[in-house]
């Protein structure tokens, strides 16, 4: 009897905003907990998640984010968004970032750096995208230790044959 291939899920992480860092981490962690193989491929802004200089400085900006409501900060403003004119005030992104980090901490969600370490320790494979690594001039020593290596798009296709692929 042919050995059944284990389920494999691969995430392409292309965004470097704080809120867009978490989907792959949360779903990847759930997958590992259930015995599913996990691969993470970091490309373009997603490389911020795995570079030493950027990982602790990911931000969320209220400008042009229509989902961002003032009521999230406990104001009795119902469905009113944060006016873009307020979003451009210096410090608003820092404030929104601080606020989101506080909310995540209260839920027991670890910071991105620690989350990546957990996934790596649990057996996830993580790769940087060669083309954007070259474009951004990122060196091997700039990466967090969780990055196994830098691979081409074609390598990624080979490594994820039969996997379910999620683009974030």
């Amino acid at each position: 009897m042919a050995e059944e291939k284990n389920r494999h899920i691969a995430f392409i992480c292309s965004k470097g905003d704080l809120d867009m860092a978490y989907p792959a981490l949360i779903m990847g962690w759930a997958a590992l907990g259930d015995g599913i193989d996990v691969t993470l491929f970091f490309t373009f802004w997603g490389l911020d998640l795995v570079t030493e200089k950027r990982v602790d400085r990911l931000e969320i900006a209220p400008v042009a984010n229509t989902s961002f409501k003032m009521s999230m900060m406990g104001l009795p403003t119902g469905n009113w968004g944060i006016p873009n004119i307020m979003g451009i005030i210096p410090g608003m992104s820092a404030f929104a970032t601080w606020f989101m980090k506080m909310k995540m901490k209260a839920l027991g969600v670890p910071p991105v750096r620690e989350y990546l370490e957990m996934l790596s320790d649990a057996g996830a494979n993580m790769y940087g995208c060669k083309m954007t690594v070259d474009m951004f001039d990122i060196k091997d020593e700039d990466f967090l230790p969780c990055i196994d290596k830098v691979v081409t798009a074609s390598d990624f296709m080979d490594m994820t044959e039969g996997a379910q692929i999620v683009f974030i």
């Binding site: 949360i26 962690w29 759930a30 590992l32 907990g33 015995g35 670890p110 370490e117 957990m118 649990a122």
Partner: protein, 100 residues
């Protein structure tokens, strides 16, 4: 496998009544998962059952590592290929509720 005659499993293989659980049952359930229980395994099972008695739900993996003070690597080495479900199943609990 006679120990298993006294318990009820749901379609996913989780025990439906944690009160039916005994240490012997845990040993048999662990063998089904290919795991021979050691003290390190038992520490996790006991923690999970205590946690579930308090909260009503099996703990998440992060609650286990933080609660016992073991690393993610150690947890995945003790319960390889899917510790979230394996720990809960062997501990006689339902699926962990929570995402981290």
């Amino acid at each position: 496998m006679t120990a298993l005659n006294t318990i009820t499993l749901n379609e996913e293989g989780f025990m439906t009544n944690p009160a039916e659980w005994t240490e012997d049952i845990a040993t048999v359930l662990a063998e089904k998962e290919g795991i021979t229980l050691t003290d390190a395994h038992w520490a996790i099972i006991n923690f999970s059952r205590e946690k579930a008695a308090d909260s009503g739900a099996a703990p998440t993996l992060r609650q286990i590592t933080q609660g016992i003070g073991i690393t993610t690597k150690e947890l995945f080495a003790l319960y390889p290929k899917g510790p979230a479900k394996k720990v809960a199943k062997i501990s006689g609990l339902g699926k962990p509720e929570g995402c981290v």
